[in-house]
Amino acid sequence: MFDWYIQRWRRVLPEVVRGAGRALPVVFGYLPVGFAYGVLASQAGLTLLEAVLMSVFVYAGSAQLIAAGLIAAGANTATITATTFLVNLRHMLMSAALAPYLGHLSRPFLSWFAFEITDESFAVHTSVFAKDGVPGKVELLTINLVPQLAWIASSFFGAWTGTLLADTKALALDYALPAMFIALLMMQIVNRLQVVIAVLAASASVFFYLFLSSNWNVILATVIAATIGVFCERWMDKFSPSSF
């Protein structure tokens, strides 16, 4: 009986170690952001349990930070839910981008795997797929699970100490999210065309943010910039097939 478990564990251990190694940079990135979320959530009036449960069941860094801000501002449930949905619609595009690689896996597995797709785990998965191909199930889940554990732990510490911190502005915890986006963006950029697309998307997003004053700016700017990217790529292929 125990032999069976030990043998199985021996088989999956290398996968767990490799997955954890790949997830490690994300863990370090999550610690300050998760801590920042915890502090802001507790100052928004959430209890320690509520703040931690949100990290367990919602597990969406930017959405949780935005929700904490909305709760602090006294927004109603409908506004919080709608905003969260819009902010996280981008995961639809990420999930769709991962889908072609994962067709061989079962639906229950994919349902579980999908729950822990984040911007960061997405970045890790795409780079792993590009470099070493699609890893085994255990490694896929480890890459997802290890960062969530770090996220839960750091939001616990943030929420726990949050009420003790008098001046969070001085710690610049509100810059955790923008800095995270900068790091993720640079991890994704591998050619010059992507730099152009990034600048375009950022400008379009600012434009829509200022003039539509809603959270649709991210979706609109993304769709426009990615579409322009496809046309630019085709145009460049036509004129200079050797470059890029």
């Binding site: 940079p25 995961h91 999908a114 610049a172 943010y209 200022l210 991210v218 993304t222």
Partner: protein, 96 residues
């Protein structure tokens, strides 16, 4: 919140994974991550209090410079987040 954050993550995987996507769609999806992240970042560093703020008083904008440099050199989240937060903290401390 748990439901509305889960739906976008799971639907495409369940619906698309079994079918192969046409080439143009795959090429389009390739640009999505860069476009999404840049779209999220843009307003956080360029807008302050609902107006465009490309000026010396925008700490988030100035802190983006060392953050980008570190992100470009290291391609890692931890040093980038640390440098970015340190830059904002210093700017606030100096009261610039």
């Amino acid at each position: 919140m748990a439901v509305v954050t889960y739906i976008p993550r799971v639907l495409p995987l369940l619906l698309i994974a079994r079918h192969s996507l046409p080439g143009p769609v795959i090429r389009w999806l390739k640009y999505v991550p860069v476009a999404v992240l840049a779209s999220l970042l843009g307003p956080t560093v360029l807008v302050q209090g609902e107006v465009l703020a490309i000026n010396s008083g925008n700490h988030f904008l100035w802190a983006a410079l060392p953050s980008f440099l570190v992100a470009w050199k290291t391609r890692q989240m931890f040093p980038t987040v640390l440098v970015g937060m340190a830059a904002v903290a210093i700017l606030r401390f100096l009261g610039l």
